[in-house]
Symmetry: C2
Subunit: 310 residues, 2 copies
């Protein structure tokens, strides 16, 4: 049996775990609902059960470690989620240590968007580069920055909070305290809110707005153009800052690419001298929901290669 690690994606809806070997082959995958109502200890128990089930099947000795990607602000050194809108009850919960104590193997906790960015770098659209930025366009917007093949963490692990970049200084209010955050102008939630403001309907999902746009509804198309402009402004700032070769977009809003991408590219081109003078790709990520599992599973391999962990 080859060595493998287990990547865990702890989301507000589903708890998923996958055993992946050093070449990126998925050996086994488990998915179970996240039982948030039962509290964090119960969720940890479910996670440990899933991991042990995989370990019993694939062999105890060949498991080199566990990586967990979780939504929320993560304190890397402590292995703690400080706050997470999607994981109520987990604030300041010592998730890493709880899992490590139960399993007696090294566990690495990482932000879910960072894990997805690392997954795309390892086995996805970023395989051929060492430096990239990923934006996950879902209910909110997450960001992950890979420099030299590794996640940029900053001093406590809060780097890459790209959904909270200001793109419209006097724009929509955000729960973070700011106005005009990217995620209030370019997420699925923002698309729904803009559709409401346009009089398209009070409770349309972003998918419904997408369908209206596809049917030729001009107001729905304006909504996606505005989304594209906001994204383009954010990307121009990122390109001017990093001069990286690759910027990836992923998440539930990707199917609307044809409606937001033209305005996005117009805006990046106009706002970034660096974009116009340096080879820069802005593309769709390719691993979808699996990116986070790949990235989480890669963490123990990378830690060992860098001389840490196991």
């Amino acid at each position: 049996m080859a060595e493998y690690s287990i990547g865990v994606d702890l989301g507000g809806t589903n708890l998923r775990a996958a055993a992946i070997d050093g070449e990126g082959r998925i050996l086994k995958k488990i998915s179970t609902p996240t039982n948030l109502a039962a509290g964090p200890d119960a969720v940890v128990a479910d996670m440990v059960t899933a991991i042990q089930q995989i370990r019993n099947e694939l062999g105890v000795r060949d498991l080199i470690g566990v990586g967990i990607g979780a939504a929320g602000f993560i304190l890397m050194e402590k292995g703690v989620i400080t706050s997470s809108p999607n994981l109520p009850g987990f604030d300041d919960y010592p998730l890493r240590d709880k899992v490590e104590q139960r399993l007696e193997i090294p566990v690495i906790l990482e932000n879910d968007a960072n894990a997805a960015a690392l997954g795309e770098k390892w086995m996805g659209a970023g395989r051929d580069v060492d430096d990239l930025v990923l934006l996950t366009l879902g209910t909110g917007i997450g960001g992950g920055i890979i420099i030299g093949g590794r996640v940029l963490h900053g001093c406590v692990g809060m780097a890459g909070e790209l959904g909270h970049m200001t793109v419209v200084p006097t724009g929509n209010p955000c729960g973070c305290g700011n106005t005009g955050c990217l995620e209030k102008h370019a997420s699925a939630t923002a698309v729904s809110a803009m559709a409401k403001l346009m009089g398209l309907g009070d409770d349309l999902t972003s998918e419904q707005v997408y369908r209206l746009a596809a049917e030729g509804n001009e107001k729905a198309r304006v909504v996606f153009r505005m989304m594209g402009q906001a994204l383009g402004t954010a990307l121009a700032n990122l390109v001017n800052t990093f001069n990286f070769p690759l910027y990836l977009l992923s998440g539930g809003m990707l199917p609307a690419w044809d409606f937001f991408a033209p305005a996005m590219f117009d805006e990046v081109r106009r706002r970034s001298y660096v974009y116009r003078h340096s080879p820069t790709r802005i593309e769709k990520a390719i691993l979808g929901n699996e990116a986070g599992l790949y990235g989480a599973a890669y963490l123990p391999f990378q830690a060992r290669a860098l001389g840490r962990g196991s």
Copy 2:
């Protein structure tokens, strides 16, 4: 004699060179006007003369290399300035190779703001950290990003173009093609332009606007508050992106700190969740004009430590 390197600061007005040893002691310093009218070959000749004068005095054998900081977009691998508003005639000029051929020692070409950031990291306000961002607030605004003690270059060397971050999407037009670039809202030039718009005078320098503010002129104070807001928006984006421990400001606008800093800090605090939840310092740089010389001189030492150069 101890080993030393020579740092060169090639500006539009002055050409300066300094011999600095591995402990950051300045051994000798030369300054001469930059004779741009005579063309780049003549400027290179002046530069080589200055370097040889230092080398003859301090010893040929102990000089480990030369670092040059120059204003403009730099292609790192080629050692070429692609374009520089402050150095007319140097577009696409192979500056590094020209100097290297004449001196027969390793030469490293770097953007001037990057060199200043590295200088502050080595011997200035950033000595105690490995990660920092520097903004130089002068006629324009430059940026330098230090990660793990080294300059972030991106794929062709254009990273850190922070003066061209969009902070007011529909704001003042910029020569780069964008509207609302940071440097059109927070540089000395921007302060002069805002003073004109406020009716304070058609040709006031930023120093004159500063003096008006110091005398209690409310319009002049509004100008600096707007400058502070623009800076704060840019810094909030940088803090959310990097989560670094330190952000430094330098340049000719620093004396106006008391007039722009309060609005700047208000804006960062409001716009950055990361700033409010992670230890983050925003401070004045301390090396002034010498930062670029220190950083340029450090480049050969760092290249050797990293196993490249000489």
